[in-house]
Symmetry: C2
Subunit: 265 residues, 2 copies
């Protein structure tokens, strides 16, 4: 089995919000020797622009409730502003970046989430089995560096807001057929922390049993739970490596290690 390596890198909204961090991240990620796909969120910027447009943002369990005006705002910010800024920065760093959302070339087929028991609005769930692996592989072979905004569509003309962590994990699982995939969740913390207040308390290796204990002890909570659920699911579905790390540690990850590595049972 000599599959080529592919990195699928998710960067969180907090990294994007800070211009300096984003520039430094792009510089580091451009030094990777293997192809990569970048998946981004953009939370705080969207919230700020929505509020300027007079749109109230409702959140439940860390997830945005997406009504029609909120959808327009996230499409503008995620697929427009954030996506193209990252593309321009990567282009300036010598990577032939191409910004897409899930609707483009139908790369992330999705279905509108069922409104029961809770109606999240225009939110999409990824149809992992329908991801067009050969299409994505063609782009990678063409040395195109995809930058993916977390907007999908339902195939009937309706755009949908979709969780970026889930898109990254779904792509990682689908592309594991063809590639030895490293799924890297990059954010503003040094990794998964055993003590949320202490950036030095990084858990360097985390298995599922320990994760369950930390959840029960409420040392891991809120937004970290869906992220880790996605991450463990990806590992179980054949993704080669899953890491959770600070965005500015990506340059050293494959040299000296960094952040938290998830390990199988």
């Amino acid at each position: 089995m000599n599959k080529p390596v592919l990195h699928i890198i998710k960067i969180g909204g907090n990294v994007i919000d800070q211009q300096d961090t984003l520039h430094a991240f792009v510089k580091q990620v451009s030094t990777l020797n293997e192809p990569f796909i970048l998946v981004h969120g953009g939370g705080r910027v969207a919230t700020g622009i929505s509020s300027k447009l007079g749109i109230t943002t409702h959140m439940v369990n860390g997830r945005r409730i997406t009504d029609a005006p909120s959808l327009d705002a996230v499409v503008m910010v995620y697929a427009g502003l954030i996506n193209k800024k990252i593309v321009a920065l990567l282009q300036a760093s010598g990577k032939n970046a191409m910004g897409l959302c899930g609707a483009d070339a139908n790369i992330i087929p999705a279905t509108k989430r069922h409104p029961y028991p809770f109606d999240y609005g225009f939110v999409g769930d990824v149809n992992v089995r329908d991801i067009p692996v050969s299409r994505l592989s063609q782009f990678i072979l063409q040395e195109i560096c995809m930058v993916i905004a977390p907007i999908t569509h339902d195939g009937n003309g309706q755009l949908l807001n979709t969780n970026a962590d889930t898109i990254a994990a779904s792509l990682a699982v689908a592309l594991s057929e063809t590639y030895r995939v490293n799924l890297l969740y990059c954010f503003e913390k040094n990794g998964v922390l055993s003590d949320a207040g202490n950036e030095q308390s990084v858990i360097s290796k985390l298995d599922k049993a320990y994760y369950i204990i930390l959840k029960e002890q409420e040392k891991i909570h809120s937004g970290m739970i869906p992220k880790l659920d996605n991450a463990f699911h990806a590992l179980e579905q054949g993704v080669s490596g899953v890491h959770i790390l600070h965005a500015l540690q990506i340059g050293q990850l494959f040299k000296h290690g960094a952040g938290t590595k998830l390990v199988g049972a």
Copy 2:
């Protein structure tokens, strides 16, 4: 010379602003038998959203002055909202649409316009000779229907607002090496009119000599002038056919003819 046919279709802001017209246009354009590239503007929507965001839009000679906040607004609206809505509609009509801006895969290389004699701000001029024809041809061969937002970049990380008519003409010229290109300017009028107030006064064939006369008589003025300058330039540079027509006449153009056809000297 057996070049394959390619349509490059520009749709104006007015078509996009009206949901019904846009849907009807997408339905018609999806029936074309040959591959096409769609280039869109998005003027009024951008102006509306800018004003909600507290950004004042300055126009000179029909061209937007793009300061940093205006640039963010047009990137959001053109490359985000409008682009992805069109992509989702085309996908629903069975076309494998992929929304890009000029920065993506570096498809429209550009240079920031010189600030003298007049500083238009973050506005890009297209480097026609650098358009990556083989890259675009690859996408067409992959049956990808490109939808292009008029945002470019300077190669150094700076996004730039760029005239959509010019992008369409530039693509038409560059791709004429490989394709028999029809350049179609679709908008809310029935064609080039000899009497601006009368939609029945469509000039069915327009050559450059007559164009110059109509300009001198001020029967053609304002936004129509740069559009026709672009269009005649494209014709002179080897584009096979150039038509100016109502967006909802595209379905009948190749059956019964429609709008204004530009003809050589």
